[in-house]
Symmetry: C2
Subunit: 349 residues, 2 copies
């Protein structure tokens, strides 16, 4: 079999598998070239203390799904989204709340088990690739994906390529400093990061701050202050609660000012937002867009669209990861002489 | 002549021309593939109110230089560095203190006059390309060039490519907001930009601020406060003047914190600094590096080098612009049906 035959037969395979590894669940699905999730399922990430047992169960479950949908032998590649995953090396560098040893050569382990090329990246980069392949960023070469969840993640695309940087970890815009002095303590150990203000957790912190330092009435005062969530703030805001609306204005302003800062870096066509907070609609988007335009460097005024993700939230993680599967290459075994640098080799038959 | 012959004969031509258009002088030079400036000269930018007369004089002067160095017919391309130059469109979008009409299709005009492919970009991007081709960034695929002059300019390289963004104007890091509240007024009309603190002008402003708001002795107090320059501050600092040294510490801290912010974006291998202030050596670099590491997101600590440009200042502008000449393509004429998008055509013989 010569190389070009191998390449063609790989390209002809109609499906990819997307795997999203979260702290609780690992969700996976079979996806076609148009971004339709043919079928999906999940296993518990934490069930196995030994990562090899985890990969065995993943293999069994994925194979069962492939068999049920007549997709065995029709998978072009596997894409995996996972926290702290390094695209260049195929390893997970750090795990929080999962007891497997790190750095973990996950791409190599999964590709050896499945006999299929595997690529991995972090969840926000996977979301950006998903959006570019199947979503709101189709046709765009320069955009930034911002995921507003428990934290703030980002995937940056420039000239049609995800920005990985020199070490594979570029695109940590949730950790841009937005308040240089007396900023909030962030989970990263520093103070004043964007994530400490504009994540779901950040919104809940703002609610507590406002309630503690102000005296104006709010229906949020009827809740236990220590367990207020961004969902509580949203529910109050849509009912017209002024303090809750102000929390969104405060959050949107900080996010919009940060988006203006992102723009002096890469002048994107659009910034796409995704995740729980993105669903707040104009409560967040209106103050965000106003602050962004007001803060914008003159050369970029009126040029940057702020738009919502077009990926369905239930499918997004699997879809995003799966998109990476189209560009996956076989990972050679790591030996002292050949460090794992994801060089392409002939895929298994 | 078939395409591959044309391509080879173009590649074989041993020289490029670099042209740096400044508000006062236009400097140009003949450069070889190793980055040696074979010869250079200049004309006055402002001598001609009509840009066509300017291009005529440029053509005459460059041709004289080529003839004197037996280089006629041996030029592969022309690279031009100019403020507000757009690489994508080949136009200068805005001119300050130069009375030519904008947008000015400069790449097309020069390439039609010379019969040689022309590419243009702004001065900081040209410096980045020069550094990558001939200087401290040789072999690097991810770095950021920061020019510390009257203003603060930047050229960002990711995956070996200059970042132009969606509109051609990406990389305005001098206009990242470093002081969100009560920041200094910047020339761009906003407040708190990096440029308002860390340019030569910014250093002079810091000197005035310190002298006006403090009472401690300094030899800077013997100077006319309104005409203090960054050179005065440097001279005082090297003599051990405490207040002058503190001005550098203040400047270095702000710049180092901004460098940490740049890093969450693109995780560069190095940040290269160039220009007058860069020559201050450890006066600036020590507080800069300390602040950068202290502010750095944990994943990037200890990974980013801060280094000085290796281009000689006298040659740098011409060298940087010339490097762009190697990738210049012929610019087709602009017609309503074929907007100027720098598509390659067969170069003139």
């Amino acid at each position: 079999m010569n190389t070009s035959t191998t390449k063609n037969s790989t390209i002809m395979k109609p499906y990819v598998i997307g795997i999203d590894i979260g702290g609780t669940n690992t969700v996976f699905g079979i996806v076609d070239a148009r971004g339709v999730v043919i079928a999906s399922s999940s296993i518990k990430t934490l069930k196995h203390a030994d990562v090899n047992d985890y990969i065995d169960e993943l293999y069994t479950s994925v194979t069962r799904l492939l068999e049920a949908h007549d997709a065995v032998g029709k998978v072009s590649g596997i894409g995996i989204g996972a926290p702290n995953a390094n695209y260049y090396t195929g390893t997970i560098e750090k795990l929080v709340n999962i007891p497997w040893p790190t750095p973990l050569p996950l791409a190599q382990m999964v590709s050896e088990k499945f006999g299929i090329p595997v690529a991995i990246t972090n969840d926000a980069n996977a979301a950006a690739i998903g959006e570019m392949t199947y979503g709101a960023a189709r046709g765009m070469k320069n955009f930034i994906m911002i995921t507003l969840g428990t934290g703030v993640g980002s995937g940056i695309v420039i000239n049609g390529q995800v920005v990985y940087g020199n070490d594979g970890f570029a695109g940590e815009l949730g950790h841009l400093i937005v308040k240089r002095n007396n900023g909030r303590l962030c989970g990263c150990g520093r103070t004043g990061c964007l994530e400490a203000y504009c994540s779901a957790t950040g919104v809940a912190r703002t609610a507590r701050e406002f309630l503690e330092t102000r005296t104006d009435p709010s229906e949020l005062r009827s809740l236990d202050i220590d367990s207020i969530t961004s969902k509580d703030v949203y529910d109050a805001a849509v009912k017209g609660d002024k303090l809750a609306i102000e929390i969104y204005e405060y959050t949107g302003k900080i996010l919009g000012e940060a988006f203006a800062d992102f723009t002096v870096f890469s002048s994107p066509e659009a910034i796409i937002i995704f995740g729980g907070l993105a669903k707040s609609g104009d409560l967040l988007l209106k103050p965000l867009r106003e602050a962004m335009e007001k803060s914008m460097f003159h050369a970029f005024k009126g040029k940057v669209k702020v738009i919502l993700s077009e990926l369905k939230e239930a499918d997004a993680a699997v879809l995003g990861a799966s998109a990476l599967g189209w560009e996956a290459k076989m990972v050679p075994a790591v030996t002292p002489d050949s460090p794992n640098t994801a060089l392409p080799t002939v895929p298994n038959a």
